[in-house]
Structures are given as structure tokens and as C-alpha cells.
Amino acid sequence: MNIKFVARKILASFLTLLAITFVNFAIFRMVPGDPIRMMFKDPRVSIEDIEAMKVKYGLDKPMMGQYINYMKNLAKGELGISFWQKKPVGKVIAERIPRTLGLIGLSLFLAVVIGTILGAVAGWKGGSKTDSAIMGISMTLYSVPSFAFGILLMLAFAYHFAIFPLGGIETPASGFTGIRKIFDIARHMVLPSFSIVLWYIGQYILITRSSMKDVLSQPYIVTARAKGVRERRILTRHALRNAFLPLITITGVNIAFMTGGIIEAETVFSWPGLGRLFYDAVMKRDYPLLQGCFLVFAVAVVILNFAVDLLYTRIDPRVRINGEAVNEG
């Protein structure tokens, strides 16, 4: 692996993280009016209490001092206290992370596997009936918001057919343990993960297809045919591998966009993950919690992007050897 490339990426990610902390700090100071008053829209809170809070949060100091203070707290892992849950924000968020990771992991895996296959087929059979069918379906899927899929799936499979639960992560007070508990959670996962898969897969198919078509028009595909390489091998060895390269880059760019689908799906199905927490924080106007959630989402996007970059260096020999993509055509 190219050290220079990785070092540059680490530096860039670090700077991005720094900038994100600043944005995260600044947005919540831009609140029109007094931030503390915004946080407590409760008339029972007295002026003295607010002043005390101001000192506690360091809001009586100048902007720069406040930011340094915020960073110090961040370094200690302190994100403030959630007004709604009356618990440290860090703690509230931490218990939600695994649930969201589970949901997104499963959905992303399904979407990528199915999407790649369908997209590659559509691109490979460009212009055929199969192609236009896949194209039409994916453009339709692409146009439906994740929450709309959620509502439709819920109406169909939770209300009408009552096959799957309405929401939540497990049946309340069921007392399930061991394998039955896992099965119960899996059942609760089906609808939310499908609403994410359906939402993301359309876009993924479209990208794979166009990437595939682009690759198939490249001269090296003609070269491979002229060599007498079997069609299947042209697909797997020559086309797919090259089609993956832009796909990986675009997947990286899309991570920032994907966060949306998770919030929508978790909200509809009350999946107690980060997305639903975000929604609840908005509804309850719990600013410290909202600020913490946003930070977690933003940091996750940066980390995932970094991971995608590393993956890219492993697959593209041009980056592996030169430290940057050689622009060829």
C-alpha cells in the first residue's frame, strides 16, 4: 500500500473532523436568541438558573473560548446532558450505535449484492428488454423516499397481512432469551431494512449500470474479445473489476447521503437506533442530544469514507503504485 497516499488521506480526514466539530459547535450557537433559553423553553426555569447554566456551559465567555471549552469537553467524551432523557448524551448515543450499525450493515449488504448483480446485468445487456425493465424499476425505486417505502411496507405487511411487527426492536415484555430473542429481533428488522434496501438499490443499480456501460465501451474490452476471451470471463475479469472502481468512489460519496434513509426508516418503524434518536431529539427540541447525534453521524461518514479510500487503494493498481489515479482517457 502506498504510504504517501494513506498519510495524505489520514491528514485530510483529520482536518475534516476538525472542521466538523467547528460546524457542529457553530450551528448551535447561531440559534436566534439565547441558546440556553432555546434549550429550556420552560417558563418555570428562572433567570438565576439560566445564568448558572450559562456559567456552567461557559456561555459567558467569548466565542473562541467557548469553542476551546467545547473541544476540551469533547476530548473527554462529554457531549452535555440530554434534557429529554436526563442522561449524558454520550451514554444515550452509545447504546443506540450497535442497533443502527446492525440495521445499516444488513441493508447495505443486501442492497450492494442485489444492486450490483442487477446493475451489471442491465449494463451488460444494454439496450435489451431486460435492460429497460431493470432501468424502469430502478428509476421508480429511486424516486420513492425511504419513509414512503416504510409506510407502504408497514401498511401491507404489518397491518394488512400482519406478518411482521409494526415497529420496535423486540416484542415488549416477551421475556425471550437466546435463539428466540435473536429470531424476534430479526423479525423486527425485516421491514425497516427492506425500506432502506428498496430506497438505496434503485440508485445503486443505476450507478452500476452506467459504470458497466462505460467500461464495456472501453478499447480493452474489444482487445479481450479479439483475443478470444470467453464472454463470461470478459464480464467477470475485465468488465466487473473495472466497473467496481468508480462504484467504490461513488459509494464513498453516497455515504453522506445514505444517512437520510436510515433516519427515515428508523423513524417509521420506531427502531431504537441513532436515526430514531435524531427524530426524537428534533421533536423534543433536545439540542444537546441533537448536536451529539449530528456529530456522530458526521464522524461516521468521515471514517467510512476513509475506509472506502483504503479499499480503493487495494483494488486499483494505479493508486497502489503511484499514490494517485492515473487519468487514462
Binding site: 472501453q218 480493452y220 474489444v222 482487445t223 479479439a226 483475443k227 478470444g228 476471451v229 503511484n322
Partner: protein
């Protein structure tokens, strides 16, 4: 028996606004060990003709008429799989050096060896030995087979392409502008390399170029293409000394001579014909100084004069029967 016989080949491109005939009634033969040159401006159909030999005419193009007979068998009756077996093994192609003519994510060794592996030669050591010796033959050190295409210069990549086309010692090699787009010194080296290979392997080749000097280096016979037709076929020297077709003459006059008297370069007036619904006449008539009224009335037939072929009304007595 000739190695390759192209008879009456016609290739059409179906467009929304009509049909363009890119290759029109093309006839030529290639004897074993012979190199035939095919010359013409860009867009005259020479590449399409070559690609249809390999069975590479894809929609919206199609072979409308004619036969391609390779070793006595009509390739138009071959299945896709039979054609695939043939490609790389019995006939191969070197195309103009292009970015991405080699797969950017596979090593050159892998890409050269793939020709053999895909045609049933699975023994790893055999394949590797063969790759090494081919790389050496084209002047690349065998250790570099682990490199990727982007680590080579354009000339080197073209050497790889030649190795790739030659590894299975095919009976027919199509050289489609193999040295175009490279700098002059590299062109010279590649020409020498190709000539070497030709002698060593007793290659039969079809060389496509737009420059007669390149053809003269390698071929004894040459066919001149214009607007999808072969308008003249002759020995290279004969054509050069005494071109019959006005287009051949114009083509020769438009290139500088290295030897012999200095002459003014003359460009050909007008532009190449538009192949979408062409007129039923000689396609060169519009640009031809010697054109007569007959030239605008019908397409000239092939005429044989002193074992040369020419398609021009100046040399035929026949009247238009339209």
C-alpha cells in the same frame, strides 16, 4: 488454396435516416505468407472490412452480403463460439495504439498469457515460458510482465499488443494502423519489429494504413479503398510508379517523396463522400479531375488491366446499363 478469401463483402449500418454502406463489394485474397496492404482515408471502410473478417460487426452494423473464407471455410456460417476459438489462436489483430487498449487493472503478463489460457493451454509453466519468450521477442524484458499497462509508454504498450497478438502464432494477423499516433522513432522501431516477426513466424498479414510509405515497408501488394469500395489493387511498386485510378494518383501526390525528384504536394479537393444514401455513381466523381458524364451515371465495375484491378470508368468500355 488461399488462406483468406473475401468475396463480394458488403457491410451496412442501419441508421434512423437510412442505411450507410460502409463496405461495398469488396474482394481480395491473401496467400499464405503474404502481406496485403489496405490504404485509404479515415472513414473509407478499411477498418470495418478488417473487423468483419474477425466477426466484429455489431449493431447497428451488419454484414449484408458476401463471404469471408478462411482456410476454405466460410466464416459467416461459424457460430459465436467457433469464432471465439479462432480469434487469438488462428487470427489476431493489432489496433491503433489507444489509451486503455490494455486492461488497466491487470498485469501485462496476465493479459498476454490469457490468450493461451482461454484457448485451453492450462499448463502454467508453458504459458509463462511462452509469455517470457514473446516479451523478449518484442523487446521487453520478461521481468516486466508483472507491471501494469500504465507503467509503460505508448510505444511499449504497442509492443505488448503485438506480443499479445503473436503469442499463439496465428495464421493471419490484422495490423490496423499499428504505428499510427506514435512518434517517428517509435514508429520506425515498431515497423522493424513487425518485419522481423513476419520473417520469423512466416506471418500472413493484412496491414491497414493511411500512409503508402508504411505499406511499402511491409507489403508487396496493396489495395486502395475509397468510400467503401476497393478502387484499385496492384503491386506496391506498380501503384507507386503508375497509379491507374485518379484517386490513387491523388493519394500518392498528396504524400511527400523521400527519394527521386521533388514534386509539389497536391491535396485532394473536396471531402470524402457521405455514405448515407450515396449516389448511384462513382463516389469519387465529384472530386475527380478526369470525370466524364458517364462517371455520374453509374458505379464502375472491377476491370482487370495487366493483372491489376481498377474500378474506374476511364478503363472500362462497358456502357451504363441503367
Amino acid at each position: 488454396m488461399s488462406l483468406l478469401e473475401v468475396k463480394n463483402l458488403c457491410v451496412d449500418y442501419e441508421m434512423r435516416r437510412g442505411t450507410a454502406r460502409a463496405v461495398n463489394n469488396v474482394n481480395f485474397t491473401l496467400e499464405k505468407g503474404e502481406t496485403l496492404g489496405l490504404i485509404g482515408e479515415s472513414g473509407c471502410g478499411k477498418t470495418t472490412a478488417a473487423m468483419s473478417i474477425l466477426g466484429f460487426v455489431t449493431s447497428p452494423g451488419r454484414i449484408a452480403e458476401g463471404e469471408v473464407i478462411f482456410k476454405g471455410k466460410n466464416l459467416r456460417n461459424f457460430t459465436d463460439e467457433q469464432m471465439r476459438q479462432l480469434r487469438g489462436m488462428s487470427m489476431s489483430i493489432v489496433r491503433q495504439e489507444a489509451q486503455n487498449a490494455l486492461n488497466p487493472v491487470l498485469t501485462v503478463g496476465e493479459q498476454i498469457g490469457e490468450v493461451l489460457r482461454e484457448h485451453g493451454i492450462r499448463n502454467k509453466i508453458d504459458v509463462e515460458d511462452r509469455v517470457d519468450s514473446l516479451l523478449e521477442m518484442v523487446g521487453i524484458s520478461p521481468e516486466r510482465k508483472k507491471s501494469y499497462p500504465f507503467e509503460f509508454s505508448g510505444g511499449m504498450r504497442q509492443r505488448v499488443m503485438i506480443a499479445l497478438a503473436a503469442i499463439a502464432e496465428p495464421e493471419l494477423m490484422i495490423l490496423d494502423e499499428p504505428i499510427t499516433g506514435l512518434d517517428v522513432i517509435v514508429q520506425r522501431q515498431l515497423l522493424n519489429l513487425l518485419n522481423d516477426l513476419k520473417n520469423k513466424m512466416n506471418l500472413t498479414a493484412l496491414l491497414i494504413a493511411h500512409d503508402l510509405s508504411v505499406i511499402a515497408e511491409m507489403c508487396s501488394r496493396v489495395a486502395v479503398m475509397y468510400g467503401g469500395f476497393i478502387v484499385e489493387k496492384a503491386d506496391v511498386v506498380d501503384l507507386y510508379e503508375k497509379p491507374l485510378h485518379p484517386y490513387s494518383k491523388a493519394l500518392i501526390e498528396s504524400y511527400p517523396r523521400i527519394h527521386g525528384e521533388k514534386k509539389k504536394l497536391v491535396s485532394i479537393p473536396g471531402s470524402p463522400p457521405h455514405l448515407l444514401s450515396p449516389p448511384e455513381s462513382c463516389l469519387f466523381a465529384e472530386r475527380c479531375k478526369k470525370a466524364t458524364e458517364k462517371c455520374f451515371r453509374c458505379i464502375p465495375e472491377e476491370t482487370i488491366i495487366d493483372s491489376r484491378m481498377v474500378r474506374c470508368h476511364l478503363y472500362s468500355e462497358e456502357e451504363c446499363n441503367v
